[in-house]
Symmetry: C2
Subunit: 652 residues, 2 copies
């Protein structure tokens, strides 16, 4: 390689800059106010001192902000910055050999060893002048003083002083800097992307005494949902339901006369993905619901299920978007030998894929125009991932705050890929993580693994599709335990509400499905009833709103506790202004007790511990003066502690 | 993003293709004949079948070779190919959804469930025609047959046959393929890069009775070195030794009259890096040594120490290549408050860095022209890593077989970076890994960690700079154990020979340095003496030459053995034509015994074990008929087994 093309005097190497998702192919994600920890491996030949800065700025602006990196050991360096605006940030790393710092380290050691450092002072003078350029008078004067033999002793003392140490630190001598080749992107999204509290109900069951519920009925339920502290109300599809091959109660292949069918079999002669199921009301009713909900801080989430019933208008208007079989029929969904004749999937490989993509994008934009800001996307993993990457980016161009929740319960790489491609939040395996070990491993993977930079979990103990085995035939304690875990481990969580709060524990035998599932029939609920569960939900969600520590998933630290039935974890803000300690009894039947350890390094506790605890569930107060503290939880009262911690000043 | 720019029908995602070093910034390394395992994460939306190929070719050629990948689980795929030539290879990955295979899987399941598959056969016919294009008559005929209603039963049977399964497998239906964005590079180097056996001696100690040794004396020692089975003879620097500030015996600051100085203090009025120390002989003598060695399969390795004694000609001719101090003197090496006044380092940040780089490159090329093909590079981590990347690439352009061994005992990232930048082999931390746990962890890190693709270890139990604590004041058993480990764990190893084979165990107290180090004085050795060590070295090195399993570092599998003082490992070729089992007693004092487990999956052993073992050290034969087998090792005889394994056919 021609030497002209090499910056040969640059000796510092910068590698492995993080966060970097797939070599920069995808941006890393944050929300407004979140910290970005930038790390890199930085080193050079020899023994000279290396220094490094993180450079960051808002995309499209010119001026870099600089923040100095600190070495963590073994040539790994770190610096952090906070995102303050909802925009893209770019960052990179710059590093250099700092001869002023190297020199300072050397002259200190020599001075301490009582060696003569006259020559070193002259060298220091030259370096100070190099740092100063022509501007810094103070440094020029200092250089002159270093050259003054009469001030030798004074100078020797000064180079060993704290004051001069600070001066050297303040004035990096940047020469032959290396700049990391890439500028990496951080997408900063709305805080709701990270902190949201979801409630799901079927609007058709919102009515009274067996009648088909309507949007107006849902409006009447808003106070209840709000009182429980939810800020997202998610309704399954609200579009006309297919009449051809309609499914009956308990997934019967043929519906009987008058059965309502599954709302996920979208489209009929009454309309498709931009229409509203007439029995629910009108578009105006739906917009009214959105508006009323918004008034009390609730967003209405729309279900985006990109598939068609056989009588969906698309099937006639755009047969080219579906797979034609040799007999002229259209290919229904199947998982051989099983057949799903009520669902026609789109053929994303069709020749008019561009028409299809544009139409689906127009569906999303149509609902955004009606006021929808949150989409729960049904089975995104059965549509091409590149489609989502494009469609979400297109929507975000005009409406950057729109939230997309990926309902993909599938293999890890695919869930990760959807998240990288733009989904704001994702359903998770939490639904099946039950034991202490499983929960800790999974949380540590989510929070400290590479997916932390793009995969935002949303924890659901149940969904209309999933009544997990550990809830089947179980009493209310188990439902409460799972709710408490979801709501405090993850800053976004949700429940498929009515069956959850009323403890529906009755499965199709041998399956993780609800018996008499609401997916295929209208259910009746006593919407005035409150119970132990609704009380607990209300208190927890209030705590989530009031305590910043519960508004992030990324700030967890598990605590040692000598009992496998007890799970303890701390959540805290960087500045420790909000600290929550959660201790959950995972055993729904028995009292469990044990000693929990306060992580002193995290809480910056000194030798004398003095921590006030306020249990937000029971409103009881405690004071802990030891590192290890006794706790006991009776699942028949409240199976968990939700402590707010106050650390007494003398600790710090 | 404009839809025109998106290949919207491509649904397969390819991620995390390996081997990829720093995102493709550096090539991965192999030697001729080595296997390349390519892995990737590959997946698509939905349930369609994905297939994938690795595409590879020699750099600069046009035609890709294809080899099909196999899924290992969780969407990770793998395929392997062998490098057959000493050149660069490029590879990438291609993947697609194979509708023929998806269809085949579906029709089989439906047929097995006794469903009517008439329509499916017609669909199969269409797919077969798509595979066939216009060429494959067989497939066209088959399609016609699938359309023939009269052959329905025959067709249904056929699609379930093994024969048709093979046909589907043989005829991928590649549509809407995705190709990984990068073409990654594999550098394929000479086999000696991986398999080499080093012996180090100071030529000045090669003479008899206290006289300064010469190259001619070294020629006389070649039969001895060869008889022990070494194929690289490495001599410390052979250039004129500085006279100014020369170091004396035991690193004394001032040499006494007549002391020879350290050969690493290079250069005097007699010449510099291209000259030869007169007392060793002439350039012709050196070339004679190279030629004589080559005749018996030994390469002479030159020490490349890019630093200067104060009287090196460069200092006068190119003062601009060194750091000037304010008093006009030249900066010597220091690690404050320590001073190394006999060494001037180059200032790689000087303005004429290009002149310096070119001169140093010319030094390497000069010696290559004299016949040197192997360089042991002294302290490469005190010269800029970008310099090495450039210099090694420049030399390899003309002389691709030249081997560079990096003598960097420093922090892991820097050792890794030097290896990535082009060094063929590297010194390692083996020198300080002693316990069973340490050795296993370190080997597994080297062989199964990411550095496997660029860092080729060369194991040294000692060097002139290092007499490790565990050899100090120890008896010969410990020396033999460490030799056996180095020679069988790593396919490249070396010893600083004479002090090693004669068990020099005498350190500078408290340091890992030799007392009366040969670095500062001429030593006398009885070059006719053989002993237990030289016998063992000869047998081991003979085994290394005869058994391919010992010629790679990458083929190790540790075996369970119920004794922490016993370390057991298998080394084997892919085809199991060469299998070596090594069992080492790490306890130099006591008999140790235990049961070792044969890894049946690796050896493809069935239920009846029948393995013949030939101990290459003792020439004894054993037969093992169990998975677990008793071994006992007396360190005072031979502290290790070196078994050649023969697996009886009936096992396989």
């Amino acid at each position: 390689m021609s030497l002209e093309k090499i910056p040969g005097q640059v000796r510092v190497i910068i590698e492995n800059v993080q966060p970097e998702v797939d070599g920069g192919r995808y941006p890393a994600k944050r929300t407004v106010g979140e910290r970005v920890d930038v790390t890199a491996d930085i080193f050079a030949d020899g023994h000279d001192h290396v220094r490094a800065d993180v450079l960051y700025k808002k995309a499209g602006t010119r001026e870099w902000h600089r923040t100095p990196m600190v070495e963590l050991g073994n040539d790994t360096w770190r610096a952090s910055f906070y995102t303050t605006e909802k925009t893209d940030y770019v960052f990179t790393v710059e590093a250099w050999i700092d001869h002023l710092e190297t020199w300072h380290d050397g002259i200190k050691k020599k001075a301490q060893a009582m060696l003569n450092v006259k020559l070193e002072l002259l060298e220091g003078a030259i370096l100070l002048e190099r740092v100063a350029g022509k501007k810094e008078k103070e440094l020029i004067q200092l250089a002159t003083k270093f050259r003054d033999d009469k001030k030798y002793l004074e100078n020797v003392e000064y180079v060993q002083s704290v004051e001069f140490n600070e001066l050297v630190h303040k004035h990096p001598l940047r020469e032959f800097e290396n700049r990391y080749k890439k500028e990496l992107v951080i997408v900063v999204e709305t805080p709701k992307a990270l902190f949201s509290t979801w409630y799901e109900l079927f609007p058709r069951s919102a009515g009274a005494s067996g009648k088909h519920g309507t949007f107006k009925d849902v409006i009447k339920l808003l106070p209840r949902v709000s009182a429980m502290g939810f800020d997202v109300l998610y309704l399954p599809p609200i579009h006309p339901i297919g009449k051809v091959n309609r499914k009956g109660k308990n997934n019967n292949v043929r519906a009987k006369e008058g059965e309502p069918g599954s709302p996920w079999a979208i489209g009929s002669d009454e309309g498709g993905h931009k229409a509203i199921h007439a029995e629910l009301g009108t578009l105006d009713d739906y917009k009214k619901l959105i508006a009323e909900a918004k008034k009390i801080g609730i967003d209405i989430a729309l279900d985006l299920a990109f598939q068609c019933a056989p009588d969906h208008p698309y099937v006639k208007e755009h047969p080219e978007w579906f797979k034609q079989r040799p007999d002229g029929s259209i290919q229904y969904a199947e998982n051989p030998p099983k057949k799903y004749q009520d669902i026609y999937p789109f053929n994303f490989e069709c020749e008019d894929w561009q028409g299809l993509w544009n139409e689906l994008k127009s569906v999303i934009l149509y609902w955004v125009e009606q006021g929808v800001t949150i989409f729960r996307v049904d089975n995104p993993h059965t549509k091409p991932i590149p489609f989502w990457e494009w469609a979400i980016a297109e929507v975000h161009k005009q409406h950057p705050d729109v939230i997309f929740l990926s309902e993909a319960f599938t293999r890890p790489r695919i869930m990760a890929s959807l998240a990288k491609s733009g989904f704001t939040q994702s359903y998770t395996y939490f639904t099946w993580r039950v034991s202490k070990q499983e929960l800790m491993e999974y949380m540590n993977e989510l929070v400290y693994g590479p997916s932390r930079n793009y995969f935002r979990p949303n924890f659901w103990p149940n969904t209309p599709d999933i009544l997990p085995y550990h809830l089947q035939h179980q009493g209310e304690n188990m439902f409460i335990i799972r709710l408490a875990l979801a709501a405090t481990l993850s800053s976004s969580y949700g429940i498929y509400g009515p069956p959850y709060e009323f403890y529906d524990n009755n499965p199709v035998p041998g399956k993780e499905e609800y018996m008499d599932s609401e997916k295929y029939e209208i259910k009746e609920f006593n919407w005035r009833r409150t119970n132990r569960m609704t009380d607990i939900i209300s208190i927890i969600n209030k705590a989530r709103k009031e305590h910043k520590a519960l508004q992030s998933t990324w700030n967890i630290q598990f605590c040692s506790i000598e009992n496998d039935a007890l799970l303890a974890y701390l959540k805290f803000t960087d500045d420790l202004s909000s600290i929550i300690l959660v201790i959950v009894n995972l055993d729904q039947h028995n009292n469990q007790h044990g000693y929990v350890q306060l992580p002193k390094h995290v809480l910056k506790l000194g030798d004398k511990v003095n921590v006030k605890l306020h249990d937000l569930m029971t409103d009881e107060y405690y004071t802990w003066t030891q590192e290890w503290n006794y706790v006991e939880l009776n699942p028949h009262k409240i199976p968990f502690h939700l402590f707010k911690l106050d650390i007494h000043e003398s600790n710090m």
